[in-house]
């Protein structure tokens, strides 16, 4: 799952490969200068497209770290699997 998140971050924040390879679950928004509030909107759409999930508009503000994104994705995909 983290590889998919890396790809989404790379596309939304227009990161080069060297930066992408450094992204881990510990990466937070301050680690990636291009992770602005505007770029974050593109990131959310990339995540939704890649993982086939939908985030509520009021939950996206607190997704400012890879760990937070993974947590949300795991919760949503678990719900989908239960269904």
């Amino acid at each position: 799952m983290i590889d998919g998140v890396r790809e989404c971050l790379a596309r939304a924040l227009q990161l080069d490969a060297a930066v992408v390879s450094q992204i881990s679950e510990a990466t937070t928004a301050p680690d990636l200068p291009g992770w602005t509030s505007v770029a974050h909107l593109s990131l959310v759409l990339e995540l939704e497209k890649t993982f086939g999930v939908t985030f509520a508009n009021d939950e996206i503000v607190s997704m400012g770290s890879v760990a937070a994104i993974l947590e949300r994705l795991r919760a949503k995909t678990a719900t989908m699997n239960d269904e």
Partner: protein
């Protein structure tokens, strides 16, 4: 106006976010005489009731009824030398009849009038357009973009109005780049009309970004993504509390003031269209709550899902170009507002701190206001209140 000319009267956009209006009253009866510049009808928008002036003097043929929902840009009347001449002209337009036009203004369940009007132009059945709930104009625009549809060739484009004709001397020097999109055109006309009513002046002031940067960094460390907009909203509310005229506007000699400090901010959708979502009761919200609300509304804009209720009734607008290296950014007021607060990008200003030179992150705030409503002293005091609030924020 040429005495024999027949003018198709299209519904103007009274508010940048309104795609359709409700016709609430005709000021000139069907077959009656319109006078250029005098009210032709009254329409209700998401914000208010306003008058639509007649574009020319002449006999009026109504093609919409009171209570109809009319899409912006849709023909709702004709003005010409006589009813007979107008009806003859209408009949000559590819089988069109007044009854057809009235019928088209009816809103069948499942689609807005704006969506129907756009879909009709592209030969699309609105029922085939994917949408969550009622099909809106933005749904049709996405449908068109995804399929790369082009507007089918139909009637030749109407001749441009005299003021819009290209001067012959420029004919060989320029290239015809086609028409603006409906959205762009509506915004341009809306802003031009609004600016024509205002006496615009500007006040400019720098504000230190140190406190704002600390706040944003603290939030980012905590995993909360936010830009400077919540702080700008907080600062704008402080300015309005200091100078309530910022929440007022003029209509002729009458002045109206908004009862609540609801502030709009400019945001772009993923396909580049401009919207102005509104944060309610900004003066009663903390920064964290403002950040959360900005995130929710910005995402809705980005997805093209903003609801009309999210865009109506704001007393002031904020526009920030923090993503670009623009220092001074002057905005244009929206309808039924007298002021807009804008912010450029953060830049360093060299100043003396304890006798030593230091680079201070700074943002330039510009307040564009209606000098017909408030003077420069009042505007400067309001901007100073905004600056003070902007610099005084803390966790």
């Amino acid at each position: 106006m040429n005495e024999d000319a027949i003018i198709a009267v299209r519904m103007p956009q009274p508010n940048v976010n309104d795609e359709e209006v409700t016709l609430v009253n005709w000021c000139v009866v069907d077959g009656g005489q319109a006078v250029e510049g005098q009210p032709l009808c009254e329409v209700e928008t998401s914000k208010s009731v306003g008058e639509v002036p007649a574009p020319a003097s002449g006999v009026v043929r109504q093609t919409a009824r009171v209570g109809d929902i009319v899409a912006v840009g849709q023909i709702f009347a004709y003005v010409g030398p006589s009813i007979e001449a107008i009806d003859e002209y209408i009949s000559s337009q590819e089988g069109w009849s007044p009854d057809d036009e009235v019928q088209q203004t009816r809103e069948p369940p499942g689609a807005t009038a704006g969506a129907i009007e756009l879909a009709r132009r592209y030969g699309i059945d609105p029922a085939n357009v994917p949408a969550t709930g009622k099909v809106r104009r933005s749904d049709v625009e996405r449908f068109i973009a995804r399929r790369g549809l082009t507007q089918p060739a139909g009637k030749p484009a109407a001749a441009p109005a005299p003021g819009n004709r290209l001067p012959p001397a420029l004919a060989d020097r320029v290239r015809d780049e086609g028409e603006l999109s409906d959205h762009q055109s509506a915004i341009a006309e809306h802003l031009a009309r609004t600016q024509a009513r205002l006496v615009v002046a500007h006040a400019v002031m720098d504000a230190s970004m140190e406190a704002a940067t600390r706040w944003m960094n603290t939030k980012r460390q905590a995993g909360v993504i936010t830009g400077p907009m919540p702080i700008l909203l907080h600062a704008a509310a402080a300015a309005i509390c200091s100078q309530p005229k910022l929440a007022s506007f003029r209509l002729g000699r009458r002045v109206y003031r908004y009862r609540s400090i609801d502030i709009a901010y400019a945001a772009r959708s993923s396909d580049g269209r401009l919207f102005t979502p509104v944060i309610r009761s900004v003066d009663n919200r903390g920064l964290d709550e403002l950040a959360s609300e900005c995130g929710r509304l910005s995402m809705a804009v980005f997805r093209g899902q903003l609801e009309p209720a999210d865009m109506s009734g704001s007393c002031l607008t904020i526009s920030a170009l923090s993503e670009h290296p623009v220092r001074l950014h002057v905005g244009l007021q929206n309808a039924y507002q007298s002021a807009i607060l804008t912010a450029g990008a953060v830049h360093d200003e060299l100043t003396l701190v304890d006798g030593k030179p230091a680079a201070i992150p700074t943002i330039t705030l510009t307040l564009s206001y209606d000098h017909g409503l408030m003077d420069g002293w009042e505007a400067a005091a309001a901007l100073e209140a905004a600056r003070a609030a902007f610099e005084a924020i803390h966790d």
